[in-house]
Symmetry: C2
Amino acid sequence: MNNYIDKNRDRFLNELLDLLRIPSVSADSKFKPDMIKAAEYVRDRISEAGADRVEIFETPGHPVVYGEKIIDPALPTVLVYGHYDVQPADPYELWNSPPFEPVIKNDRIYARGACDDKGQFYMHIKALETMLATDSLTCNIKMMIEGEEEIGSSHLETFVKEHRDLLKCDTILISDTSIIANDVPSIETGLRGLTYMEVEVVGANRDLHSGVYGGGVANPINVLCEMIASLKDENGHITIPGFYDQVQELSQAERDALNAAPFDLDEYKKDLVIDDVAGEKGYTTIERTSIRPTLDVNGIWGGYIGEGAKTVLPSKANAKISMRLVPNQTDQEICALFTKHFESIAPASVKVKVTPHHGGLPYVTPTDSVEYEAASLAMEESFGKKPIPTRGGGSIPIVALFEQELGQKSILMGFGLDIDALHSPNESYGLFNYYKGIETIPLFFKHYARLKK
Amino acid sequence: MNNYIDKNRDRFLNELLDLLRIPSVSADSKFKPDMIKAAEYVRDRISEAGADRVEIFETPGHPVVYGEKIIDPALPTVLVYGHYDVQPADPYELWNSPPFEPVIKNDRIYARGACDDKGQFYMHIKALETMLATDSLTCNIKMMIEGEEEIGSSHLETFVKEHRDLLKCDTILISDTSIIANDVPSIETGLRGLTYMEVEVVGANRDLHSGVYGGGVANPINVLCEMIASLKDENGHITIPGFYDQVQELSQAERDALNAAPFDLDEYKKDLVIDDVAGEKGYTTIERTSIRPTLDVNGIWGGYIGEGAKTVLPSKANAKISMRLVPNQTDQEICALFTKHFESIAPASVKVKVTPHHGGLPYVTPTDSVEYEAASLAMEESFGKKPIPTRGGGSIPIVALFEQELGQKSILMGFGLDIDALHSPNESYGLFNYYKGIETIPLFFKHYARLKK
């Protein structure tokens, strides 16, 4: 099988590069035509790989691509999930090369979506091709590649509900996460949830002269800053009433296991070029970024932001604010608590509007399941090392939905690295990781079929 | 004289409209050619009005236009000051008509700079023309129209120092302020100073994934908000150490006189469409906007501000912050205090940079001078009502410079109104105010020449 992968190395890479050249940004409507182009490209490659029933399903948002290979209804069925949409690429000026003109440098692919998630789901298409070409597919396989993961998979819930039979499976396999290092494989057993909202603070009905009115009329930017600052106390605890009520506290043993994972704080600071980390008092960096909820302002704007100075007292100020959630918080509940609190702390001198964007539930998967065992054995075989179970800080809203609608857990067997700069300028994905994934995925099917017997 | 003004009404207006069509925005370098065009237009109109020695003086920044009419060295000389540069017009989408395509609606001229200061300084050119055409000029007159008032008159200090003799005068007359109402004339006897700076807060060296790093690394937007919020306490007092040390406290009698000016809080709130005013505890709105210093964020930006949601933990956040100053604060001292304090409150997890933009000293002029008396009599004659002395909240940095370099006080005989929306979309200037100014200015010269005898 590795033989076949070696023989087709270059083609496997070039096909991914062609996919990366399509700017499939789901958040920005001006890229709508590229979203369709990307979906069609994925459909054609899945069908070339040898899948049946390959088709594009329209949704009220961006389309879903589906394909399957049912070799024997008696065999277990694996549903592979991925997403062909990517994060916006701006700020463009910080990219060393254009985000949608992939380049290979020091054995890494540089492009928006190189790792998240084009590079990672495309490994599955090439793994499928490899298994069929070498006649070594041991399970039935279904593939669903969506186009709205970066904007909350808002229409996928309806799609999954309406296609329960089509998506029926024994487990779900997803590559959209990272390993600790190329010589320290790991599998994510938990994910944080997310709730994301946009807030607007309005003062006077028009921009004002800061000399004529300054000091006498509320400045919405100052007010927004004060409101945001008040959302955390001096220990980094979030002050929204009820915010922590449902938070699942881990036992000391569980926390110790988590902190046992290799982590070098000095390396971490050096990589980010910061003098110090920051976060909730009483928790380590690993804990702050995995088992604790957060509140981050993702964007803020108001007043004059052009060149030079303008002495304006602006009419309004806006911010995008998101919270990462942990078991057992729900995005709906936290969104409601945030909205109620944020409106309640607004002074009478301004008007406040909160607009929810999207959310997703947190997720935990057990490490004693057949599925986890199969993934662990597959990685151990390809990496020559038993993978470490970790808890991730990111969110894949869909996994909670799968559990609820399809009644199956998801296995998060990802191959990225922290240095891949997801959501950042100069996102990249290692060639080692790309080919290692294509090599590992068939091993999962092999072990899974055996263990399921 | 009013006869001559009436006969030339339309031409006087059309000349101003032509000036308003030139987008002379000093803050934005892309308008540099328009700045030169505006300067040349002003030069030509001054010369047509009948002035001598009309010329454009280059500076390292935007040019200064000068012209004079010396009818008799024995007579007192009045230096008229104004500025042909305007504030940036954005946000453009909030204008009902394009900012540089003036339109007349309900007897008002709508355009950027209609009042501040093109409409107001152009009255002086037409007043000069009128006085010369009707042979009624009673003093020598010098005119200096600069192009950098909206960006702090940064190069005018050097220019004034280098042209002390050219600018030698007995008093300075400026129309760049407002009256209380068209039936309640007033003269500003004080102005607030200004210090303006840009701040930058930098966290990690790149934008980060808010899931992978969120909670463990400082978010520069959250930090900037916390730092800005901490600059004021719950009573609206500014917390920068030493900020109030030099502030001139007014006697209760002075405060009572100030608060005696006609002011309707309900009207004020209705005009701004706000439920409540805001500001420093223990002071009225009139006091907050005139005799008390302020701290306002004029602009803020950071992270993702495009359409939709992006779960980014940004690398940096920026803000433009200005403070209005009162006697006897100095912009240099307050700028230094702010910078020292702002840097001192930055947590170790971020790096902070403060860049001063420009500043100006506060100013007070006595009401018992010959100059004030002349202005008061002129307004009383044209409005039929004795003007009320007021303290303005805005800043004209140049007046302190004039006092220091030319040894003369400035008379702030302005004709604008609060509803003119200076620095805002849909800036306007009343036709009544434009013609009333052209009619009042010659009366100032008349009374001034008589009183100076």
